[in-house]
Symmetry: C2
Subunit: 150 residues, 2 copies
């Protein structure tokens, strides 16, 4: 009877939280989000270093901001701190043991990514270039502290 209640309680917790996603899927989805942001970062880099195409920069900056705002934190579910079968994660264990430091870097990234989208809408190539550097700095800060070399 006790076991039954405990299981039911667990099921409720799982169903009512973002933790319903399986660890291997969570790893794949967060990698997809970072990968797609990296393509859009590379497009902005090409624009500010070469011919500036405003529409392309706006679309890329909006994509990075939208992904930054999409709640990726929900993809760091229990079980996703290590490889699952052949699904490999490059997140370092420290990511899961230093939530306050992670939150600080994540908030900084979100702030700069949204600012980049705001500036891209009306700003010059030089203004976008400056803000692009700030976003890249927040990417690097997290990679330095929390991403394995791969």
């Amino acid at each position: 009877m006790m076991k039954k209640i405990t299981l039911a309680a667990c099921a409720l917790v799982v169903a009512g939280s973002a933790f319903a996603i399986e660890p291997d899927k969570a790893i794949k989805f967060r990698q997809a989000g970072y990968s797609y942001m990296s393509w859009n970062m590379s497009k902005i880099k090409d624009n500010v270093e070469g011919t500036y195409k405003q529409a392309e920069v706006i679309a890329a900056a909006n994509t990075i901001a939208a992904i930054a705002n999409s709640g990726m934190g929900a993809l760091y579910v229990p079980g996703s701190e290590k490889d699952v079968g052949n699904v490999k994660t490059y997140v370092r264990p420290e990511f899961f043991s230093k939530p306050q430091e992670v939150a600080r870097i994540a908030q900084s990234f979100n702030k700069e990514a949204n600012e980049l989208a705001r500036i891209a809408a009306t700003g010059s190539s030089a203004e976008v270039k400056e803000q692009f550097g700030k976003v890249g700095g927040t990417c690097k800060a997290c990679h330095d502290d929390f991403k394995m070399k791969n």
Copy 2:
């Protein structure tokens, strides 16, 4: 001499177009975009079928629309119509031989995805659910015609 000129001309064409991206990277980036959209679609599905959390739906719908607007067409570069090493593509060959049909479906998807983001901002769960179905229909239309079963 002739060879040198031809190589130089090719380099110019590649550098000046969206085709500068390597086929294997293009395949990975487009798969990342679709994968990240699918996670956000699943979140909207959970919301319209369960407890409706407007902020989560807005963030998810904005992400799908931003990715839809991000110019994924640039990721279908020559060489990416088939597997590259161990990077497998699930796009069917017809995708590359029927550009008008692909464009029609892509435009339909973009229209419905942007409409979903517009409705999510202020609409009810029922209104979002209806538009979510339309977006899903455009996903399915493309998968049915142009995606391998995997």
